[in-house]
């Protein structure tokens, strides 16, 4: 297990102990909530991870590295923005796609851009949920204020990666 994984388990343990001492019922409810979430997530995860593996084999290595590799600069971030905007579905679809691209040679900062584009631009979500419920004026306002966010997050990630020792975030 990675160091960060241990930190998260420790944080969960500390939260459990603190809550248990303050309010046992709430602590039990928290545990039940986590278990219920796990029951819902596990079947999807069992599909998602092999899907990422198959996709990684299907995506030609040169293709991901050429279009989205760490050295592709601004063009790579723009490609990631377009690809991310059109990925439909929840995190059990998008994150395995990101994992597959990443292990086929895409750069981590480009993958930050891609996830932001999937989160913020989300063409599919705009059409199915946002426009019907909030109206196109709200959609226009949100896209006008949000179109630059994927690129900004990706470039911020590039800057952060430059500060970290190489290999901190491996593929």
């Amino acid at each position: 297990m990675s160091a960060a994984g241990i930190v998260i388990w420790l944080a969960a343990a500390v939260a459990a102990v603190l809550l248990w001492r303050r309010d046992r019922k709430a602590a039990l409810a928290g545990g039940r909530f986590a278990f219920a979430t796990l029951k819902g997530v596990l079947p999807l995860m069992l599909l998602a991870l092999p899907m990422a593996g198959f996709l990684a084999v299907l995506v030609p290595e040169r293709f991901a590295a050429l279009l989205l590799g760490p050295e592709t600069g601004l063009r790579g971030h723009l490609v990631a923005t377009v690809v991310g905007a059109f990925i439909p579905g929840g995190p059990f679809v998008s994150f395995p796609i990101v994992l597959a691209l990443w292990s086929s040679g895409a750069g981590p900062a480009q993958m930050v851009t891609l996830i932001s584009a999937w989160s913020v631009l989300a063409i599919n979500r705009v059409i199915v949920w946002e426009a019907p419920l909030m109206g196109w004026r709200f959609v226009a306002l949100r896209l006008a204020t949000g179109f630059w966010l994927p690129l900004a997050s990706g470039l911020a990630a590039e800057a952060l990666l430059a500060l970290l020792p190489p290999g901190t975030i491996g593929g």
């Binding site: 960060a4 981590p108 932001s116 989160s119 109206g135 997050s153 990630a157």
Partner: protein, 122 residues
Amino acid sequence: MLGAALLLAGFVQAGVAKETIARWLGAESGLRGLLIATLAGAATPGGPMAAFPLVFALAAGGADRGALIAYVTAWSLNGLQRILVWEIPILGPEFAALRFVASLPLPILAGLMARRLPGSIA
């Protein structure tokens, strides 16, 4: 799920006085309002069927467009539940931390932009 979200939105609107939402998230709420909206967005679990009815309720309750944009942006970029349940297990805690930090200021910036753009919504 959608039913529950709509009920929740209804209760928010019925239970929280309009002045309260307007004071905390209204046009005069300043940077603090954007910060509150950002925290609330990151804390909102679930998909669009849960978040958008809440946005709708907040808009009807007097939240200004800067706060609404900050809320939606924070929910979509840095929803904590998605990070904990999906991103960390699939992509690893190091990548999740990199993305989280790189996206952290963006909801506030988008909210500030929304307040400065001309025109009005709902």
